[in-house]
Symmetry: C2
Subunit: 190 residues, 2 copies
Amino acid sequence: MIATETKKGARNGVDTPTLFATLDAVKGQPELAKFQFRVSNRWLSGTNSRSRVETFRGAGGEHAHKGDYTYETDHPSVLVGQDNAPTPVEFLLHALAGCITAGIANIAAARGITLTEVTSRVEGDIDLLGLLGLSKDVRNGYQGIKATFEIKGDAPAEKLKALVEQSRARSAVFDVLTNGVPVDIQVQAA
Amino acid sequence: MIATETKKGARNGVDTPTLFATLDAVKGQPELAKFQFRVSNRWLSGTNSRSRVETFRGAGGEHAHKGDYTYETDHPSVLVGQDNAPTPVEFLLHALAGCITAGIANIAAARGITLTEVTSRVEGDIDLLGLLGLSKDVRNGYQGIKATFEIKGDAPAEKLKALVEQSRARSAVFDVLTNGVPVDIQVQAA
């Protein structure tokens, strides 16, 4: 757990003192930890749509990101889309890589390890017989995801590997992808 | 199931004849349905990293997207990041909205319904006591996701609502998020 690590100064671009101060603040006022993230989406044409990342709630208030972030998604031409953007399922792989990598940097900073490089490759296998409605025995989504991390820094290999393991054990995206989450869908039609 | 709907011409920007031809091709040669999607990621600094969407395999071959797609992710300043990009968990919401919206357009086209507007808002609630290591009783990821779709087109409300339901029932991202998927993580450290 990050909060119990030895405190060090800023490292890996992580403002460690502020990170620990934040953890202390949340310990004293747990309701600060309740966050809500939001995205809106608008259909463009065919399988192409565009999402906007909206404000989020947390730490006792509403916050806007410092940038205005919009992302499209589409199906590739081999799946009869226009390929104007990556597929929705590719964004799941990006989310996984980004979440575990952010955790690695935070945990390394907390443990006094300076990183020089973290790269990863994430692959997801999917059999489209499911989502195409051609087989009831095949699920709609990925059947498996494999992520391979390469990590370099000023610590022995075992300590570097332990960073990835600890990040995985605290990753929001890894948790959601492996354990699932209730999703409620409402519709207004006119 | 898309494949059993009445065939119509292109509609909603969906090339319906090609969609049905693709389904027929996959029915005759199910190994065409096996896809692998891939993303690579590189740590930048702090909690900031950048993913590149790589080539994908499927339909019997390797394919490059028509564009070169890279996406960053970061933690917000309130969570001691630089807020150079949205959080990893926000990309999960984008993936969900995009996947269900693409399905709505495909299914509407197959059913001969012309859509005029599809918008959605997706919210994910997360209690950071889990991922911060401050409570063992709180999960790391979202506790729940709520998606609200608004859909307009030339069909009665019940038929429009049924499009969303059928898309949900065939959505790869909805399946992964609600049912989970095995994720294997390997590490090379130096």
